[in-house]
Assembly symmetry: C2
Homo-oligomer: 251 residues x 2
DNA sequence: CGACCTCTTGATCAAGTTCAACTTGGGTGG
DNA sequence: CCACCCAAGTTGAACTTGATCAAGAGGTCG
């Protein structure tokens, strides 16, 4: 359940990071990669369910999600909790917590994850010495905000069925951009409780809606993989005309 | 309804900007202010209801809200619309739209508004030449994301009454940070339709809940000003223990 | 095997939506 | 100055979506 780090071993060197090959990532200069490499102080493993950043934490580091899924969430004092967004490989983890002095949210590992660790204090060095990377960090922050905008619109305006469809479509596109979709199907590790918390629905209602959509032939779930049987219909059902999530880390 | 700009007149020089005196703003060096001044290319006026940025716009500029209120929103194809967050004087307007290539949302003037205009293309100069300001821009972006996190949590988890109370408290704190609260009362320009769109509720239910809270003595509205009669109770009713909005644009 | 966790399904209930009619107040034009 | 109009807000009644309560199925792990 806790962070395991292996001092002395920093995992793959950044130059050879497999994520760089994915369609979603911008080419970087050798200088940039070298700088990233010197910023990276650790490579950690964490089990599903572990706290990457806990709510209120003041010294949270900045991470990059190397593998696995995570989510940001926010809890009310009485225990209700809202999942704000999901984090996939390559996403920046804890930027908000690094910039603001305390984390206003928590971040939890949804599956087993690997994280690259960058000390938050060096974020300032990056702004001072590597403006292209700083710009890209800001870009990633805006992209995350954009996804939250979408979720807020879903939760505020869409019906239960529409919300589910919209979430699935959006995850589908993000996973696809990482090259991890095969035959319209991809690994889908969310429990129904987590779906419910993300969509602002009760567990029971989520379950009923979920099986209704399956019955209607939108998608199927087996062996932890979700298959989109009718992407077109699903998108229409979500009452959404595509948001970005597409790669475009430009200047 | 449209933008009025007065070429040749850039409004107050940045050095003398009244916003700098507000408690919420970080001291800046003369260099920084000079840089901001050279970036500022215009000062515009716009009437309530005008589009500052329309959805999908690809060449949106970056603005600073000099006076008045605005809001960011997102619409679904069938007309439903979600207000994402409100913008108050001093807030950056259109950062997301400047960083990503197209605006995924719209921004509308809620009251008559004055805007300082900065060409989006120069945002990169700022990252290259003024890292402290770039860092502050990123900080402002994170702060905005944090507010949206809150709204999402509200809309996803809180009841109608709680949502209203939470929104009012949060606006109260933000307006207070600008020094614009007097006797627990402040200018409150939102229509009930706008409240409804922000909270993910129907107009009718918003009206009923709103008058219930007034009847219960939480606050009063007269002459376009809202008075918080019982801030303590309102905060408790919101089922929230304070989020940040507090100023702390530090490094 | 039993304890536990996740998911499923039915029954009942309540929060919020929708429809519709009516009030209020400000603004305009005759 | 009054008549009218329109936008914003209010209120009641019927209806629907989604919440809550409850019981049970299936799977996993010690």
């Amino acid at each position: 359940m806790n962070i395991v780090s292996r001092p002395g071993r920093l995992g793959t060197p950044c130059l050879a990071c497999p994520l760089r090959l994915k369609p979603a990532f911008r080419d970087k200069t050798d200088d940039e990669i070298r700088f990233i490499q010197t910023m990276k102080v650790d490579h950690r493993f964490m089990r599903a369910g572990g706290d990457i950043i806990h709510p209120g934490q003041e010294d949270a580091e900045l991470y990059t999600l190397y593998s696995g899924w995570a989510f940001r969430y926010k809890s009310l004092p009485d225990g209700r909790r809202q999942i704000l967004n999901f984090l996939l490989p390559g996403d920046l983890v804890g930027l908000q917590a690094s910039l603001l002095s305390a984390a206003e949210h928590g971040i939890e590992a949804l599956t087993d994850v690997e994280l690259c660790v960058f000390p938050r204090r060096r974020l300032w060095d990056l702004f001072e010495r590597m403006p292209t990377l700083a710009y890209e960090v800001a870009w990633l922050g805006s992209r995350e905000e954009c996804m939250i905008d979408d979720n807020l619109t879903s939760v505020g305006q869409r019906s239960a069925g529409e919300r589910l469809a919209a979430l699935i479509i959006s995850l589908y596109h993000r996973v696809d951009a990482l090259g991890l979709v095969a035959n319209d199907s991809f690994a889908f590790p969310l429990s129904q409780q987590q779906l419910a918390d993300a969509l602002g629905l009760s567990l029971v209602h989520t379950s009923k809606t979920w099986s209704r959509l399956r019955r209607e032939g939108l998608f199927a779930l087996s062996g932890g993989r979700l298959t989109l049987l009718n992407p077109r219909l699903t998108a229409r059902m979500a009452a959404a005309y595509e948001q970005i999530t597409a790669p475009r880390p430009l200047i």
